[in-house]
């Protein structure tokens, strides 16, 4: 904490001249998490962190099903964002995923597994290298990371591994939206006898090869992940491709 306060003080002194409006925001964890000091190690040494209400993490305050806790991360108000790190302080696997918005705005909906009640946070890195941190507490029953995936009871999951379904919306209030689902057990490796087996990289590109977003997924992302994103100015079909940590690759096309 002292180290952090020290860094913060130096930082504030520097920033005071450049962006005085932000002064003071990085001093106290608004979620009052006892693990916040440890969370700093997720970031490169010397990285500048700032609590920023413009990074919104939407989640139910009480999540009954710890295997499918919905999160919607919105850092689009920051302007261009190069990377968003999603993490949960008290999860046995803290890091949930990173996403790298390119043509798409820094906005992503998905679901995660939580082992116990915890802050769930998103840290968005802007071009100036500053990580803007937002988050919320989620109270949950627990056991989300040490429960076998449903595929354990389903004999034909291998035939459907990495199959993608999806849809784009062009009209109505959600006119720039893409939703997709990828069949994958997303095993955490924390269940005895079931090794970690999860999607690793997923990327979405338009027909011209321009990348909308890249996702780097970790074990806490829910089984059969569903992603909701905004495609920004991109139009036409969207290619989805990726692979899991066992090297199983896939690629699919979502019609406009």
């Amino acid at each position: 904490m002292n180290l952090m306060t020290g860094i913060a003080a130096v930082l504030l002194a520097v920033l005071a001249t450049v962006r005085p409006a932000l002064a003071g925001q990085d001093e106290v964890d608004p979620l009052a998490s006892p693990r916040w000091a440890d969370m700093r190690y997720l970031f490169p040494e010397g990285a500048t962190l700032r609590f920023d209400p413009r990074v919104r993490v939407l989640a139910p305050a009480v999540a009954e099903n710890p295997l499918q806790v919905p999160l919607t991360v919105d850092a689009s108000e920051l302007g261009p964002v190069s990377e968003v790190l999603v993490f949960a302080d008290f999860n046995p696997i803290v890091e949930v995923m990173r996403f790298f918005p390119e043509a798409a705005p820094a906005w992503l909906g998905f679901r995660i597994k939580l082992q116990q009640s915890t802050p769930v946070r998103a840290a968005a890195r802007t071009a100036d290298g500053v990580w803007h941190v937002g988050g919320t507490w989620v109270t949950t029953v627990g056991g989300g990371c040490t429960v076998p995936s449903a595929k354990a009871g389903s004999p034909d999951w291998q035939a459907r591994l990495n199959q993608v379904s999806g849809r784009q919306w062009n009209r109505g209030a959600q006119a720039d939206r893409i939703r997709l689902r990828i069949e994958h057990p997303m095993d955490t490796g924390l269940v005895a006898g079931i090794p970690a087996f999860h999607l690793d990289q997923v990327e979405l590109l338009d027909a011209a090869g321009q990348r909308l977003m890249r996702l780097q997924l970790h074990e806490p992302v829910s089984e059969n992940p569903v992603f909701t994103l905004r495609r920004g100015a991109v139009a036409g079909p969207v290619e989805v491709r990726g692979y899991d940590n066992n090297g199983n690759a896939f690629h699919a096309r979502i019609a406009p």
Binding site: L58, V62, N65, P70, G109, S165
Partner: protein
């Protein structure tokens, strides 16, 4: 001294409140020889000890048939005493309507009495009973002390059954869970719906299949049109003299299904769906807000899968 004394009194009051663990069960007469214990229309809390469920019993010529045993060993024991206060006949059968914990965790108190349920319920209690019990310990605390899962040993089948001289019609349905038993006592015209029927309390859906549930409600409502029908004891909520619990449950499920489909069609994610307002007609039901959000968690993944198309 004064502070010490008041501290002691607080302790004493706390101890008294915690020590008696009295559910205050009082049998409500539904019809001749048919009684119910009506629980609170609340969620599980340490204050209610899990008494949020309806149980009941039928006094047959040859003995007493018990329908559901409540959320804990203590509940089962207190229920047994409350039954004895109404009628001294021996207990001949305990039936569990389905495998949810508030309906079978009192089974221990009925040692020596045959326990019966549908095969799917027996399987469900065997597989998930312990996890349910642990969860109720977490939600209600010491009320659960000494509670252990007892799996029914006797499998029930749909159809007419003569038990202790009383003719029961057993309906093997599904939709609230994989196996939902409804019991129609033809002598009195009382229909025990189990959790296929909720009344004045929002339905719960952790294992629901809405389509099958709606079909089950139709089958139950047909019984209420029979000439001998007198009353419904729903799984949760007050006793009714007509089909109102079935109609209310159906209206909720129809709305829920439509709301989830509309959200999925519009491209909303799960959080956005949870944030949607509940129509006034349903918002007045106790626990509507929390049950709606829970139901989104249970059912939305299946609904959204239907509207996403295979990508190749």
């Amino acid at each position: 001294m004064k502070r010490w004394l008041s501290g002691f009194l607080v302790l004493l009051a706390g101890a008294a409140g915690a020590a008696d663990f009295d559910y205050g069960l009082k049998a409500q007469r539904v019809a001749d020889g048919v009684h119910a214990f009506i629980g609170k229309t609340e969620d599980f809390t340490p204050a209610n000890g899990g008494n949020i469920v309806n149980t009941g019993f039928i006094v047959a010529p040859g003995g007493i048939i018990v329908i559901d045993s409540g959320p804990s060993r203590r509940y089962g024991e207190q229920m047994r005493r409350a039954i004895a206060a109404v009628d001294q006949r021996p207990l001949v059968l305990v039936i569990n309507t389905h495998h949810h914990p508030d309906h079978f965790l009192g089974n221990q108190a009925f040692a020596g009495v045959p326990l019966a349920a549908l095969p799917g319920t027996i399987k469900g209690i065997g597989e998930e009973g312990n996890a349910f019990a642990e969860n109720l310990f977490r939600l209600t605390g010491d009320w659960m002390q000494g509670t252990e899962v007892v799996v029914p040993g006797q499998a029930l089948r749909a159809g007419h059954q003569e038990t202790a001289g009383r003719r029961l019609r057993l309906l093997a349905l599904a939709g609230h869970t994989e196996a939902d038993l409804a019991i129609y006592d033809e002598t009195s015209g009382v229909l025990f719906t189990g959790d296929l029927g909720f009344f004045e309390r929002a339905p719960t859906t952790p294992h629901a299949d809405v389509g099958r549930w709606l079909a089950a409600l139709d089958a139950l409502e047909a019984i209420t049109r029979e000439p001998g029908f007198r009353a419904i004891v729903p799984g949760h909520g007050p006793v009714a003299r007509d089909a109102a619990p079935l109609r209310q449950t159906r209206a909720w499920l129809n709305w829920l299904q439509m709301a989830l489909r509309r959200s999925a069609e519009e491209g909303l994610d799960m959080n956005e769906t949870m944030a949607r307002a509940i129509p006034a007609e349903f918002a007045v039901l106790p626990l509507s807000a929390s049950e709606y959000r829970r139901s989104v968690g249970h059912l939305f993944p299946g609904v959204e899968q239907e509207i996403l198309e295979p990508a190749r």
